[in-house]
């Protein structure tokens, strides 16, 4: 049992070490790679240790859901309300505190090798530290405002890391796209925060989300906008907050940034897809689940908010799976699979399957991190083969300017374009990179939901079971979601098999692939660690009445459900065991994998041979081009806005406002000109005349001054004579 004070203190300290590491790297040790590695690894490991201590303490704490452990300080006093910020841990937070620092630490270790030859390695590790610190801060935040602070900070980190190869147009475009797309969601979230704050005067989670009175107050109050349509404040706030999730967790229609985000180095993709960014969105959604739930109660109660969430999730799940089928880039397939899997989680929340969503998020984080790091390992290996072939030393092209080359990875800019990420250039890697292959296949199986021995199976099955239970009781949303998710899951298994087959099986389809080599331990150890969790993490939440496994685990079965269940005011009822969804899950996995194996593994692709998917024609083109979302958004939103921006100044500021001013100026100028002419000819004329008269007189008098003494004397005498005459004849007379 860990004392509460220790937990309270540690909570504040959890996000600090990586953030400090960022500061130290940025300001101090960025000249030394060694020190950078040391600083960043130390930072994340301290956080990991602190987090796990907190998790242990939290697991033992009673009533964790209602009474999160934490402490807060006064931060912002305005008007009569005071906003407190603090750090706290509850069951949901503890779950994340288990996963996030572990995944981060593993990715850090991986990066020290993967990015080692990059000239800006230190900057990379710095950003990565800040990224991890922000995510940890987000998890321990006890209020929505601090959560938003870290949320945005993460947005900034992802922007910087996606655009890490900033000299490359595709990279910086992807970074701007990621920042702006998520910012749309962030603006909605900000409005949600503002609305919540305006209504409740607090943003503390515990004050709002486990406070029945507060929740009822929100559910009974009509929304400030659209309130007349019977929407409650609770629904509206919930939907605005969901806007943040849509952006951050790449849900339809704001999913477009995530596939492009793989322009960043591969460890960044792993960070974004597993440990940080996209998890944060789901985390927020889970946090506010009580609000969604409450919105269904009361006189204004409606399921609209949850239905929207569920539909968005279902659409995203299917869309992501479809597009993933037609991609060749190894990372892009994974990116779309992430979108699809996130759709699963969001759909689960929409159905009210809170624990299932959290469970899937947890398992997904591990197997997706595994897959991304595995793909990075593959790319690294193929690159190595490529460089080996073309004679240039792998680390030797560290251009100090760093603009043309970035240590070799992920670089599409160099012609002739050999793309080490294109699966058509791979094949047969199973022999050359055995450990990578093994772990990648395990991760792939978890993604496909291979029964019983992978974590992915358990979590996906949980979602499907919830959906099926709803369908059985006749809820339309659950029925739709169940069918859609089944299709999506089948597709998932199919494209996973396709990816595995294209990458690892058959003959090498390029010289580079033929010369690929296995990577050093810093890169393979993380794979092994993650593979362990990808396989066994499922056992923390197996239904108690599941045949064989349930009794086997005894009291420890469905542990996560009990633990997370504390978070909810009304506990989820345990579903009775039903064989149909389990059969469906198993069937789906085998169907998808089998189909994939039939098409790809049975007759592995030869070099130059076209992919069977391409035979689908226009459907293929549609999917290959990602359903034309980018083109659509560009035409409908970006271009018109850009047009406004480009022409606004010329039309409004210069054209209208300044023209009006110009007219005013001209009128004023005309009046002034009138005065000027009056001045010139009347006022100035009169004074000029006076002046000239005196001037003339002066000139005439000047003639008198001859300089001749005798003349002066004569003049004096004459004047004296005149005076005398005056005196004598006029004055006297």
């Amino acid at each position: 049992m860990i004392p509460t004070q220790v937990i309270q203190t540690l909570l504040w300290l959890i996000p600090l070490p990586p953030i400090l590491a960022f500061g130290i790297i940025a300001l101090g040790v960025n000249r030394s790679r060694m020190l950078t590695t040391l600083t960043s690894m130390t930072g994340i490991l301290i956080s990991l240790a602190a987090s796990w201590v907190v998790v242990l303490g939290a697991i033992g704490a009673p009533e964790l859901g209602r009474k999160p452990i934490g402490s807060s300080i006064e931060w912002l006093a305005t008007g009569a309300t005071t906003l407190r910020i603090g750090a706290a841990v509850d069951a949901l937070g503890a779950t994340f505190l288990f996963m996030v620092p572990l995944a981060c630490a593993v990715i850090f270790l991986y990066s020290t090798s993967y990015m080692a030859s990059d000239p800006r390695y230190t900057r990379f590790m710095g950003y990565l530290s800040l990224f991890a610190g922000s995510m940890l801060g987000l998890v321990v935040a006890d209020n929505l405002l601090s959560l938003f602070v870290f949320w945005e900070l993460m947005g900034f980190c992802s922007y910087s890391l996606i655009g890490f190869f900033y000299a490359k147009p595709s990279a910086y475009k992807a970074s701007v796209k990621a920042f702006m797309t998520t910012r749309i969601g962030d603006m909605l979230l900000l409005l949600g925060i503002v609305y919540l704050y305006a209504e409740t005067g607090t943003l503390n989670f515990a004050d709002i989300l486990v406070n029945k009175g507060m929740l009822e107050f929100l559910a009974d109050r009509p929304a400030i906008l659209l309130g007349g349509m019977g929407i409650s404040a609770a629904s509206m706030i919930a939907l605005l907050i969901f806007g943040g999730t849509v952006g951050k967790s790449a849900q339809f229609p704001l999913h477009v940034w995530l596939p492009d985000a793989m322009e960043g180095p591969t460890p960044v993709s792993a960070m974004i897809h597993a440990a940080t960014m996209v998890s944060a969105g789901i985390f927020l959604l889970l946090r506010f689940f009580p609000l969604f739930e409450e919105a269904t109660h009361g006189p204004m109660g409606s399921r609209t908010a949850l239905e929207i969430v569920g539909m968005i999730g279902a659409i995203t799940a299917l869309m992501g799976a479809l597009i993933a089928v037609a991609q060749y880039d190894i990372k892009r397939v994974l990116a779309y699979s992430t979108i699809s899997q996130l759709g699963f989680m969001v759909a689960a929340v929409g159905m009210g399957a809170y624990v299932a969503a959290a469970f899937h998020l947890l398992t997904h984080a591990f197997f997706k991190a595994l897959l991304f790091l595995g793909s990075g390992s593959v790319i690294h290996g193929v690159e190595h083969g490529h460089h080996h072939l073309h004679g240039d030393d792998h680390g030797g092209h560290a251009d100090p300017a760093g603009q043309d080359d970035h240590g070799g990875h992920d670089d599409h800019s160099k012609p002739p374009a050999f793309d080490p990420q294109d699966m058509r250039n791979m094949g047969g890697l199973a022999q050359r990179m055995p450990l990578t292959t093994l772990t990648f296949v395990l991760g792939g199986m978890a993604l496909s939901g291979f029964p019983f021995i992978t974590a992915g199976f358990w979590s996906k099955d949980e979602i499907l079971a919830d959906a099926f239970a709803g369908m059985a009781s006749g809820k339309w949303l659950h029925s739709v979601i169940f069918i859609v998710l089944c299709v999506a899951a089948t597709l998932t298994a199919f494209y996973t098999m396709r990816q595995i087959a294209l990458t690892f099986l058959g003959e090498a389809r390029s010289e580079a692939a033929a010369h690929a080599v296995e990577n050093p331990w810093q890169m393979t150890l993380p794979l092994v660690i993650l593979a362990f969790f990808a396989a066994f993490l499922g056992f923390i939440n197996i239904p108690r009445d599941f045949p064989v496994f349930g009794p086997l685990l005894g009291a420890n079965a469905a542990w996560l459900k009990d633990f997370l269940g504390q978070m909810l005011l009304e506990k989820e009822a345990a579903l009775p065991f039903n064989i149909i969804p389990v059969l469906a899950s198993v069937g789906i996995a085998f169907t998808g994998l089998g189909l994939g194996a039939l098409v790809y593994a049975a007759k592995p692709l030869k070099a130059g041979q076209t992919d069977p998917v391409e035979k689908l024609g226009p459907v293929y083109a549609f999917l290959r081009n990602r359903m034309y979302f980018d083109e659509l958004y560009r035409a409908v939103f970006i271009n018109p806005l850009q047009w406004i921006a480009d022409h606004y100044t010329a039309i409004v500021d210069r054209g209208i406002i300044d023209s009006l001013l110009e007219i005013g100026y001209t009128i004023g100028g005309g009046v002034a000109e009138g005065f000027r002419l009056f001045d010139k000819y009347v006022v100035t004329g009169a004074s000029d005349l006076t002046g000239s008269i005196f001037k003339r007189a002066g000139e005439w008098v000047r003639e008198l001054q001859t300089g001749q003494v005798q003349n002066y004397l004569l003049t004096g005498i004459a004047l004296a004579a005149v005076l005398v005459a005056f005196y004598l004849f006029i004055f006297q007379g």
């Binding site: 006064e74 931060w75 912002l76 006093a77 305005t78 008007g79 009569a80 309300t81 938003f148 602070v149 949320w151 945005e152 900070l153 900034f156 922007y159 910087s160 655009g163 900033y166 000299a167 147009p169 910086y172 701007v176 920042f179 702006m180 910012r183 749309i184 909605l188 900000l190 409005l191 925060i193 503002v194 609305y195 704050y197 305006a198 005067g201 107050f217 109050r221 009509p222 929304a223 400030i224 906008l225 309130g227 404040a233 300017a401 760093g402 603009q403 043309d404 806005l641 850009q642 406004i644 921006a645 480009d646 022409h647 606004y648 100044t649 409004v652 500021d653 406002i657 300044d658 001013l661």
Partner: protein, 529 residues
């Protein structure tokens, strides 16, 4: 109790100006560094002000008051004092001046006059902030235009004549009306003393303080309100009165832009909160929706305009319109609640949507806090951005965004600093811009302008676009051909010294906003009742 600290802060720069003027012009180094060192004196004093106000909480509303007879014939006094509205702005002014002087080290033309004008500018602006007498305020307010005019017209760029003329005509025109309004108020209340005018006995155009001359009292009130509002709206500037700003900024020297954006614009927002709201509470409440709509347009259109620029400096200049729009929005919300306490909601009103009574006042106070804080944070971030623009312009000799590019590779330190400042401007949480924007948004949402708030978010979105555009066009991409042979030097330590304090301040206020919000909140609560 009389003390001289405010007079000292106000007139120390003037002493500095005289010292600069008597220094022989050939000692450029002495003039530059001497000015910087000297301008630290008022800064130090203003910090003393802040700290002592923190430890010895105010008894009345105004602190450090000084009052002497000035023009007894018209009952004008030399009255100075600070409260939570003006004190942060005074500190901002004394803080920015040495930094602007540091950034101006590279000015070679007529150094002596340049630095002397800067000192004069500082005196004028501080004087305007600490004046508690309308006439005294007006004197300082007008005085601030003069050095700025010369800074633009003598040290400006290619189009300096047009820009400086536009600047001076625009602002002079607006302040003429304000002079008239001040005179009418003096006539009505028989005093120019602000605390007296705020009191029940002294409120102009109310009770016995009426003017009936040519036109009726109500008309005079409307004229005075309109004249004040016009002058300050133009200064903020609010759309569509903003077009002088981009021109003035683009042509002004870097230090001048820092002062203009960082401080001079704040006179507008300050004037609204200090004079318009308390002197004309009813008119302000009635016209609040107009102001709110214009503020929303400033936010949205300012952002779009900034997005469309290809001149780096103009982009930053338009970003001021965008950011100051939040100040205007906050003021509009504050104005909308003036006197709202009279209309208390009936029992059980929370069942209805909308915010009235106490809830509205609370929102208005939060928005008012946000508006003042936004002035401070915009002062920091815009000054930092202008410094960043100036630094790259000095090296690349162009501000055309399409010609810059790839500079991060050549100037890594500069790149990091620019990204930090840009993020401050975009309002990244953790930096000060976020707190103020959050407060304004929160206040505006909880007032009658909810829909406008939603539309304003579009502006906030575009803020991100134009800032990222600037970063991308300057830093990202391949190194341009021009730079390959003559790569620009990275930022030097003097420039770092000029920008780093701004960065520290942004971070500090982002993490601990309460250090300035506490006094602000005190005064805002007194204002909005």
């Amino acid at each position: 109790m009389q003390n001289f600290i405010l007079s000292a802060i106000t007139f120390l720069p003037l002493v500095g100006m005289l010292l600069v003027l008597v220094t022989p012009g050939k000692h450029k180094g002495l003039i530059r560094w001497g000015s910087v060192a000297f301008s630290l004196l008022p800064f130090g004093l203003s910090i003393v002000l802040l700290v002592s106000a923190h430890f010895f909480p105010p008894q009345g509303i105004f602190l450090f008051e000084e009052k002497y007879a000035w023009f007894p014939q018209v009952n004008a006094t030399y009255h100075m004092g600070v409260d939570g509205l003006s004190m942060p702005l005074v500190v901002l002014t004394t803080f920015l001046t040495p930094l602007a002087l540091l950034i101006s080290m590279s000015v070679e033309k007529d150094v002596k006059a340049y630095y002397a004008l800067f000192m004069l500018l500082e005196t004028a602006v501080i004087g305007a902030f600490v004046s508690l007498d309308l006439l005294l305020f007006f004197v300082f307010y007008e005085l601030s235009l003069v050095p700025m005019y010369f800074l633009i017209s003598l040290w400006g760029g290619a189009n300096k004549r047009y820009a400086s003329l536009k600047f001076i005509l625009y602002t002079m025109f607006a302040s003429l009306g304000m002079l008239l309004a001040i005179q009418v108020i003096g006539l009505a209340s028989g005093s120019f003393d602000l605390p007296y005018l705020f009191s029940e006995a002294g409120r102009p155009f109310v009770g016995k303080n009426t003017v009936n001359m040519l036109v009726g009292n109500g008309m005079w009130q409307a004229i005075a309100f309109g004249a004040f509002s016009l002058a300050f709206a133009l200064k903020i500037p609010i759309w569509p009165l903003h077009t002088w700003l981009p021109d003035a900024h683009t042509e002004a020297p870097t230090g001048g832009s820092m002062m203009l954006a960082g401080i001079l614009l704040k006179l507008g927002g300050y004037g609204f909160l200090r004079m318009v709201l308390p002197l004309f509470p009813d008119a302000a409440r009635e016209f609040a929706p107009v102001l709110a709509v214009l503020a929303m347009l400033s936010i949205v259109l300012g952002a779009f305009a900034a997005w469309g620029q290809t001149d780096f400096k103009k982009l930053v200049a338009y970003s001021s319109v965008n950011h100051m729009g939040f100040v205007a929005l906050g003021i509009a919300v504050a104005a909308s609640a003036m006197g709202a306490a009279a209309a208390m909601p009936a029992e059980g009103a929370h069942k209805a949507a909308g915010y009235v009574g106490e809830a509205l006042i609370e929102s208005a106070r939060i928005a008012g806090n946000g508006a003042v804080l936004q002035m401070i944070t915009h002062g920091l971030s815009s000054a930092a951005m202008f410094a960043v623009v100036g630094i790259v312009y000095e090296r690349a000799h162009t501000r055309d965004l399409n010609k810059l590019g790839g500079l991060w590779t050549i100037m890594p330190k500069y790149g990091a600093i620019m990204i930090f400042c840009a993020m401050g401007s975009v309002g990244l949480p953790g930096l000060s811009g976020f707190v103020s924007e959050f407060l304004v948004t929160r206040g505006a949402w909880g007032s009658s302008f909810t829909l406008l708030t939603v539309i304003s978010m579009l502006g906030l979105l575009v803020t991100g676009i134009y800032i990222l555009k600037a970063i991308q066009k300057v830093l990202h991409g391949p190194v341009g051909h021009e730079w390959e042979h003559h790569p620009p030097k990275d930022i030097n330590w003097i420039e770092i010294l000029g920008v780093a304090p701004l960065m520290v301040a942004m971070l500090l206020l982002g993490l601990l906003p309460s250090i300035v919000l506490n006094p602000i909140n005190f005064s805002i609560a007194a204002l909005i009742r």
